[in-house]
Amino acid sequence: MALKGNLRDFSVAQLFNLINLARKTGTLTLEGPDQAAWVSFREGKLIYAQLGSEDGTLTGVLAKAGKLTPRQAKLIKTHAPDKSDQELGLMLINAGYLSQKEILASIRQYVLDIVFQLFTWTDGYFRFDGDVLPPDDRITIRIDLENIIIEGSRRVQELEQLREEIPNLDMALDFVDRPGANIRDVNLNVEEWKVVSYINPKNTIRQIAKANKMSELQIRRIVYGLLQAGLVEIVRPEGMPLPPQAQRIQPLDRQEGASLVNRLIQRIRSL
């Protein structure tokens, strides 16, 4: 049942995607760099968010949106401290001060602002509790997660993408042997030249980074650029031994294959 872990390993985008696809109801608690956040969902839709000790009551939300002046907000707090958000909302609508649409739009913006911030949290504990929902008196909304995921992801994509493009820093690089792909014809900056000067099937990418005192992100950016430009390719480092057992095994023809697989099935059943 456990749905908990660290954002390092399972990002906010991935969590939202899971909540969306599994149509989960409950509250996600995230522990960020210096405060916590709570995001609630109903059947896979975003309904509410609260960041740290920010004032997430309707008064706070409307004040932040500029719909109430700080003075008005303060007046409401002192004169109607026990009003629920729903009561307050009705009151403001009946007084002709704000429309229902304006109130909902303010809440929506408030929640989205929080949620987009969360996408930049790439480290920290998270936990999903299926039985926890926002306080009863809060006005909740209902927003599809798809667009949020797309927009939020743009903000954290770079390193992740680079890791996928270059999964293994223990591979080496070699120049591409192709007419027109001459490294001398390309405008490279100093950092790029430093990397290029070490390119050799004997040096792993990790070693090149180390020799140049570059961070993972720096080396990945540069190698990615060189790869995209078609100037270098990733190669297996020279001198890596091949295991004896890993000889080529002939592929099967289909008829023979089916009977063979059936024999395997019989045998494994009998183990």
């Binding site: 660290n6 295991p243 095994i249 294959g257 045998r267 183990l271």
Partner: protein, 177 residues
């Protein structure tokens, strides 16, 4: 004598060596080393080159089961191990979300090496922190038609079940193809 092979892959410490050990008729020929890097010290030993298990079917058919090393820096071995395989099994430790992204990467890499059938074994399913099979399926972005099987790598029956499901998929694909 004909030999066929299957590959068991997955992230570091997912349970690949245990998985093969549970069904192999020989002691897994494993190239285990003591772990030196602090970061990876959640257990004592790790597979560095590969695991190698065997199931003899009859006088002229042998199944080899290769296990890949889980640590990233050995993944140049994968391409070699995957050559000519009948199918492969991706073992995932259901209790360690920090390995899911890697599992996804491994899955895609193997897919690229050979378009053979595969199944995913959601290992350590009965530990308290295990993610459910449904949540894991989403986390790994697994296609609906790929089997995701709850698994206990230390339990022979459980491992047999996973191997059989893979073989059924292989058979199905042969019939369809």
């Amino acid at each position: 004598m004909q030999t066929v092979k299957m590959v068991v892959t997955g992230p570091f410490a997912a349970g690949k060596t245990c998985f093969i050990n549970s069904v192999s008729e020989i002691d897994v020929v494993s190239t285990e080393r003591k772990i030196s890097s602090e970061a990876e010290r959640i257990k004592e030993t790790t597979t560095v080159a590969m695991d190698f298990g065997r199931i003899t079917v009859d006088d002229d058919l042998v199944l080899y089961i290769f296990g890949t090393p889980g640590q990233k820096r050995f993944d140049f071995m994968w391409e070699i191990l995957s050559e000519g395989m009948l199918g492969f099994i991706v073992v995932v430790d259901s209790t360690r979300p920090e390995t899911f992204r890697e599992a996804k990467g491994i899955l895609h890499t193997f897919r690229a090496y050979a378009p053979t059938p595969y199944v995913v074994a959601a290992n350590k399913q009965y530990l308290p922190d295990a993610w459910t099979v449904d949540d894991l399926r989403i986390a790994l972005k697994l296609d609906r038609n790929i089997k995701m099987l709850p698994c206990v790598a230390t339990d022979k029956e459980s491992v047999k079940g996973v191997l059989l499901e893979l073989l059924y998929s292989i058979l199905e694909e042969m019939k369809a193809g």
